[in-house]
């Protein structure tokens, strides 16, 4: 008998599925049932491609402690894809569990003797019960959820409740799903040792939190933030953001009386056109955004420079992924930081926001629309596949009904009639931000000609060097002004004073929270600063100054945030130590702690306790 891992409310179940087999909704059902029992779960989709028939995985981490980062390693594998069997079996922790469809006998060599094998003849059960091939497929998924509910002690009443919410008014579907669920449960209870060593126990750690993917939350942020024009070109992992915007708008932005839309969405011919449409719309006073990923940013580059120089608002949501082509690009990374911070030609730099989870995706897209208008410049919301395409437990979304859109410095017809002087690129307020007018505002005043670089403060064509220098300096001043307008960094001080600091951002957040707890337990207190925007607020400089060594944790090869810090802050470069994870999987606390421990050895710091893995 192999050993049996015993864990309650703290384990990882991974589902190996075939794309297009309907497993996604069954797996979500599994995760949601556990959430309904008050136990946090963080699932992650791993999909090498979206093509039907190819493998996909769904890795669900159950963690009562609320650690939502990826843990790494697998306690139970639900192996439903023969194509990936060998690899899936290999991933299981010694003492872990392998749940598979035992309808067809497999040779002994296909198994391991240090894991616990749980075979259920799913296909056989389905074939006996259903004649329609589609039903066989779909209910097979529900049957395995039923088996799992018995093995892991998931309350079937919660699953039934989820069914009844999903199939409200479709009684037949409801009944057949409940039947399939119980078929699985009954089989497990009659034939398997239930529960297994992995168990879910009711708790109260979920509370008011919601379960949503970052792309949907960002789309809602665009709805709430008042975006009326969206232009996009399909690219994983950002497409579902534009699609969600369309879905929410069709419910929330249709005039009840006329049935007409208070929004316009264009699926453009490419990313050049997407961002061109956004720039045209924003120039003309509408709030506009596009969602894309790295390759799209490359294509948008020329336009991004124009918008920077001509001072036109634009919100660009970059759901980052791993590089060009296909394959790795369906994995997560934070590898567009430099490409976005300095996108385009000539002297340019741009405002970046780094949301840590769907809640911040919502907040920051809405803020990005304000910031873009206020600063009259492109603003990037830097999410990634890990946040964007996975449902994540997060604080409920909030909106203050008194909040108004900040449309920035826009001169109205009344202003112009009152004789306010207008010079499009004049720094009236000393913050580097000029006033603009929307086309069509006034019959005789306020019209101007928009072009890239070659203009004076009145937007008149000028090739004068001094005029150019003045304007470029003003743009720098504007970038300074941005520092106090963007979201400030969040400090998490260690329990005791520390000479070590760590800087991180975006989707690294949940793994970092866990890593900080682990480091504290090891007797290595570390102060942490979560950077939420570029340009960096002065507290970032201060934080680095206050620590002897600062680890910069990020998910790319080239230490891009580290480079940006070195470039933009008045700091000693040697103080910063990059901690880099870039194999396409989301970063884990284990990785962070391991890497930091190793680096600390160089400073003769040894942990006082060993981490339990």
């Amino acid at each position: 008998m192999p050993k049996q891992i015993q864990r309650t409310n703290d384990f990882v179940v991974k589902f190996a599925n075939v794309n297009g087999s309907g497993s996604a909704s069954a797996n979500e059902l599994f995760a949601k049932a556990i959430l309904r029992m008050g136990v946090p779960v963080s699932p992650r989709n791993i999909f090498p491609s979206n093509i039907q028939g190819l493998p996909t995985w769904y890795e669900a981490r159950v963690s009562e402690a609320g650690y939502l980062g990826r843990r790494g390693s697998v306690d139970m594998m639900v192996a439903m894809n023969p194509q990936t069997w060998d690899q899936d079996v290999k991933e299981i922790e010694p003492g872990g569990y392998l749940f598979y469809d035992s309808s067809k006998p497999l040779p002994q060599s296909k198994f391991r003797d240090d894991i616990n094998v749980i075979g259920v003849p799913l296909t056989e059960i389905c074939n006996r019960e259903y004649s329609d091939p589609r039903q066989r497929q779909l209910f097979k998924n529900i049957i395995y959820v039923g088996v799992l509910s018995a093995l892991l002690e998931i309350d079937p009443a919660e699953i039934e409740k989820l069914f009844s919410e999903q199939y409200k008014g479709k009684e037949k579907l409801l009944a057949s799903n409940i039947k399939a669920l119980h078929m699985g449960r009954d089989y497990a209870q009659a034939n398997l040792t239930c529960p297994s060593g992995l168990r879910v126990q009711r708790s109260d750690k979920v509370g008011k939190q919601i379960f949503i993917d970052g792309n949907s939350a960002a789309a809602l942020g665009c709805v709430y933030g008042g975006a009326t024009v969206a232009a996009w070109y399909p690219i994983t992992p950002s497409s579902s953001l534009a699609e969600a915007f369309g879905r929410y708008c069709s419910k929330l932005r249709v005039d009840k009386e006329t049935g007409e839309n208070r929004y316009a969405i264009i699926q453009a011919e490419d990313e050049l056109a997407s961002v061109g449409i956004v720039i045209g719309a924003a120039w003309n006073g509408a709030r506009a955004f596009t969602a894309t990923s790295g390759p799209g940013i490359s294509l948008m580059s020329e336009f991004i420079g124009l918008a920077y120089f001509a001072e036109i608002p634009a919100v660009i949501i970059d759901v980052q992924r791993g590089g060009p082509s296909t394959g790795m690009p369906t994995r997560t990374q934070q590898s567009d930081i430099l490409a976005c911070a300095y996108a385009s030609h000539g002297d340019t730099k741009h405002v970046l926001l780094f949301p840590e989870d769907p809640n911040e995706c919502f907040q920051m897209t809405a803020s990005a629309l304000d910031l873009a208008d206020r600063l009259q410049t492109p603003v990037f919301v830097m999410t990634d596949l890990d946040i964007g395409m996975n449902q994540r437990l997060c604080a409920p979304l909030e909106w203050d009904d008194a909040r108004q859109m900040d449309r920035g410095k826009v001169m109205t017809r009344e202003d112009l009639d009152a004789g306010k002087p207008f010079g499009r690129y004049t720094d009236v307020d000393g913050d580097g931000i000029p006033y603009r007018t929307y086309p069509g505002t006034h019959p005789t005043r306020g019209a101007y000609f928009t072009r890239g670089t070659t203009k004076d403060i009145h937007a008149k064509y000028s090739e004068d060097g001094a005029v150019y220098v003045y304007n470029m300096q003003r743009l720098l001043k504007k970038f300074e002004s941005a520092k106090s307008l963007v979201p400030a960094p969040v400090l998490r001080a260690g329990d005791s004073p520390s000479k070590f600091g760590v800087i991180y951002f975006g989707s690294t957040s949940p793994a970092m929270d866990e890593a900080l707890d682990m480091l504290a337990e090891l007797g290595i207190p570390v102060d942490a600063l979560r950077v939420r925007a570029f340009p960096f607020n002065e507290t970032v400089d201060d934080f680095i100054a206050e620590h002897e060594q600062v680890f910069v944790v990020e998910q790319n090869r080239d230490a891009q945030l580290h480079k940006l810090l070195v470039n933009e802050c008045a700091i000693e470069r040697s103080k910063l130590l990059p901690v880099l994870h870039f194999d396409g999987t989301p970063i884990t606390a284990r990785f962070i702690v391991g890497d930091i421990e190793e680096k600390l050895r160089l400073f003769n710091v040894t942990p006082i306790k060993k981490v339990a893995s």
Partner: protein, 351 residues
């Protein structure tokens, strides 16, 4: 080049149009293009068309790409907002602008390099979408601004100033526009103001994608013997299928043409395009027949000009998207933000 400043004061006796503007109010900065450049004549035609149509200058947004042609919006409608965007990308910027405020008039000015080479994709797609605009390509068969390289509209066999012969076949923007569903398609010649001005007026009043291919000789790089876009060549090969007169909805309709040779096209806004037919067999409402006619005549070396196609019942992008009548850029929080109660319901559905 002409750098002479124009006198600022208007002559008090200059005639005013119905909205109280003189012709001078539609002018822009002094052109810096080469003296004799066809593009300047097109600017003048735009000025005249807008003046005669009683358009308030500030209700026009003029957008362009990059090129000598794309510089011209500085030289007309000085009281309109203008946008000199990036090379070949005017169509997307114009599309976005149009989405933001459907109440303005959008005038896109481009060159043959801008629209037939680097920007051909954007040209294609904004026509497909039926953006309500006037899209003018000032077609000289060369890249004027970068000093005379062949453009994609240069005819096969035409000779550059330096003597090189173009071996590639030409992109025919009119044929493309027709195929892509433009609902108003015309071709004209910058040197033929009498034909060009009414064509621009008709395009402005048209509600949909109006495309004008205006052959516009480049005196610096493409006006020599062996060029098929020179003044002489076009004057010799111009085959006008019709002459149009634009009759505004406000003007009384008079009939001073020979019946049988005149056809009237009523546009949705009440304006009338009166076509004086020059080619008896030409029907501007039959897209397929038009395409065939153009192919046949072009094969004979003729440059067919006039109002080539018009669909008086065109729909535009806003109709396709079913957007509200109010410009999107004027909607406020109440119209756009669903508020906290709805958000609470959304939260509840996510637990």
């Amino acid at each position: 080049m002409t750098y002479l400043a124009k006198p600022k004061l208007h002559h008090p006796s200059l005639p005013k149009n119905k909205v109280g503007y003189t012709r001078r109010d539609y002018e822009g900065a002094i052109s810096t293009l080469c003296a004799g450049c066809g593009h300047d004549s097109i600017s003048a035609a735009i000025v005249q068309a807008c003046f005669e149509l009683d358009i308030e200058p500030h209700r026009v947004a003029k957008l362009s790409g990059i090129g000598c042609s794309s510089k011209t919006p500085t030289y007309f409608l000085g009281n309109s907002h203008g946008f000199n965007s990036v090379h070949g990308r005017m169509p997307s910027v114009l599309t976005g602008a149009n989405l933001a405020n459907r109440d303005l008039l959008y005038l896109g000015v481009s060159g043959d390099g801008d629209s037939a080479s680097i920007g051909i994709g954007q040209f294609v797609h904004c026509i497909r979408r039926g953006v309500n605009m006037v899209y003018i390509v000032e077609n000289n068969g060369v890249y004027g601004l970068t000093k005379g390289q062949f453009s994609a509209t240069a005819d096969r066999g035409s000779k550059s100033k330096r003597g090189a012969v173009n071996a590639d076949s030409a992109v025919d923007m009119v044929a493309l526009a027709l195929q892509l569903g433009a609902t108003y398609v015309a071709r004209s010649f910058s040197g033929d103001k009498a034909q060009l001005v009414p064509l621009i007026k008709g395009a402005i009043e048209h509600r949909g994608a109006a495309f004008l291919d205006v052959i516009s000789p480049c005196v610096a790089f493409n006006n020599h013997e062996g060029s098929t876009k020179s003044y002489d060549y076009i004057r010799e090969h111009n085959e006008a299928v019709n002459r149009i007169d634009f009759i505004s909805p406000r003007a009384p309709i008079t009939t001073d043409y020979e019946p049988g040779s005149v056809q009237e096209v009523l546009q949705p806004d009440g304006s009338v395009l009166r076509l004086r037919k020059l080619a008896a067999d030409y029907d501007p409402h039959n897209r397929i027949a038009v395409m065939n006619y153009l192919q046949e005549h072009q094969a004979r070396g003729e440059v067919v000009t006039g109002l080539l196609y018009v669909d008086p019942e065109a729909h535009d992008l806003h109709a396709h998207l079913n957007t509200v009548a109010a410009p999107l850029n004027q909607l406020d929080e109440a119209a756009l933000c669903p508020g906290s109660k709805v958000l609470e319901q959304i939260n509840a559905s996510l637990r």
